[in-house]
Amino acid sequence: MGGWVRFWDPRTWRMLSDATIPATGVKMTSGVKLNDKTEKYLRPRSAHEVATFAVNPFELAGSKAVVSGGDDKMLRIWLSPPTSDEPFFPRASLAYELGGDDIIPISVDAVETFYL
């Protein structure tokens, strides 16, 4: 549930991928039989709980990366495997929980040349 971070190919406008956090402990693709015989599926968690307020791309270790901030007070960084140029397949690589009761990231950025 929640705020998606999705990636689109600007050549075809096809959606490439979702930056979603996998559901843990249960295979996402297999159904779970419940007592009432209904079959339900665990879905991956979206990038943030309900809403994503800010996204920004940058380079990390020669790979494309995206940093996102959402209503869940999380700062997340999504990386694509270094070997793939395109499309972008994001992995939930880094996460930081912001302190404070009601801190919500409204802007995220990567200052890539700060050391210069």
Partner: protein, 397 residues
């Protein structure tokens, strides 16, 4: 967009964020947001989280928002269709039905949430970059916070290297908190505040201690917006773009948008750290997003559903008005590698790709399925973030 369409769209500030309808009995909750009383009461029966922020609320008590109630009464006076829409919010069966489709189930903690102060990665192999995050903090403190994260020497960990409060000295109230922020160049940010202000901040590293500090170098003291500054953006000129067009090397103009419906242009005074107000442009409603085209035009969007392109030198009338969205325009991003191309996202659950070099500038419309709150465009991919409609949460196990 026709005049009738505009007429049918109620201002966001008058609409309950839970029900999506005109409020009849608006109340303020502990999160500072206003809701229809019956809706938030129903919400609190099963959740102690804010419907807007998803955060825990210290209190479930609510206070009548008399000021907004008066505004809504005035808005509805003599307009039967608006009165009917308002009365819909009072119908118990409508509230129960709507709430049932929007209920949120609490999430469990994911293993990706590392300890505070540490970001760990097995893939980071570089000292760059510093990740900077601007946070909106408590409504009580009225502060923003600038956080910076730096890669450590082994390149596998990021650590919090700076947590710096951002606030205006002249006011220590809720109104001074940071509402938006945008990077201007490698060390400089522009920020907007809830009191309609605009300020410039610079990052500096102490050569001896290595600590990063944020310093406010300028803040507007006059010509402020009349309401919350919702967005800021640098406005480049041709000469300010690098060869590949995706990096700003310098800046001298900043545009800011506000809930008061204006877009203001601020220009840097040469050889000083001062900026001055140089032009103002107007929408027919709240301005929610501003950006700039590669040609140096200002792009703005908001609650009048339109995207407007402005020439900073001729601010009286927009150069172009681009219609295509059917709800509030929430975000704009420009493709820096190609002239004339940018994209916008909206509450109408679509992303529109525009190319103003084409006879028909709307070149593609992407169905998102939920409101699009933020966009960024990078060569090779375009990232979209959006709010998920809570009706889709019910299938979760």
């Amino acid at each position: 967009m026709s005049a009738q369409q505009v007429e049918d769209h109620f201002p966001d500030s008058l609409v309950c964020p839970i029900l999506g309808t005109l409020m009849a009995d608006p109340v303020i909750a502990a999160d500072g947001h206003t809701y229809e009383r019956a809706a938030i009461t129903e919400w609190f029966k099963e959740s102690s989280l804010s419907p807007m922020t998803g955060l825990n609320l210290n209190s479930k008590s609510v206070i009548t928002n008399y000021a907004l109630k008066t505004v809504i009464d005035d808005f509805c006076r003599g307009r039967p269709e608006r009165i009917a829409a308002r009365e819909e919010s009072r119908r118990p069966e409508f509230i129960v039905k709507t709430m049932a489709s929007r209920r949120v189930t609490p999430e469990t903690t994911a293993p990706w949430e590392f300890d505070k102060g540490l970001l760990a990665s097995k893939t980071a192999q570089t000292k760059k970059p510093v990740i900077v995050c601007t946070s909106r903090t408590s409504l009580n403190t009225g502060e923003g916070v600038l956080l910076a994260f730096e890669p450590q020497t082994d390149g596998k960990e990021f650590r919090l290297s700076m947590s710096h409060p951002l606030k205006l000295e002249k006011q220590h109230t809720t109104e001074a908190s940071i509402s938006c922020m945008e990077r201007l160049n490698d060390h400089t940010f522009a920020a907007g505040t809830r009191d309609g202000g605009v300020s410039i901040w610079s990052l500096e590293r102490n050569s001896s201690s290595g600590r990063i500090t944020a310093k406010r170098t300028w803040a507007a003291e006059q010509d402020l917006h009349y309401s919350t500054t919702t967005c800021v953006t640098p406005v480049p000129t041709y000469s300010l773009l690098s060869n590949n067009g995706d990096s700003l090397k310098d800046f001298s103009l900043v545009a800011s948008g506000s809930l008061d419906g204006s877009v203001k242009l601020w220009s840097k005074v040469q050889n000083t750290s001062q900026w001055k107000h140089s032009a103002v442009m107007h929408h027919r409603g709240e301005v929610r997003c501003v950006s700039s085209s590669n040609e140096g035009h200002i792009l703005s969007g908001g609650s009048d559903w339109s995207l407007k392109m402005w020439d900073p030198n001729v601010p009286n009338e927009p150069v172009r008005t681009l219609d295509g969205h059917t709800h509030v325009v929430r975000c704009i991003t420009t493709e820096r590698a190609t002239r004339g191309r940018f994209a916008s996202g909206s509450n109408d659950e679509h992303v529109i790709v525009w190319d103003i070099r084409q006879p028909e500038p709307l070149v593609h419309k992407i169905e998102a399925g939920s409101p699009v709150l933020t966009l960024c465009w990078e060569t090779g991919f375009c990232a979209r973030a959006e709010e998920l409609r809570r009706t889709q949460c019910r299938e979760r196990v």
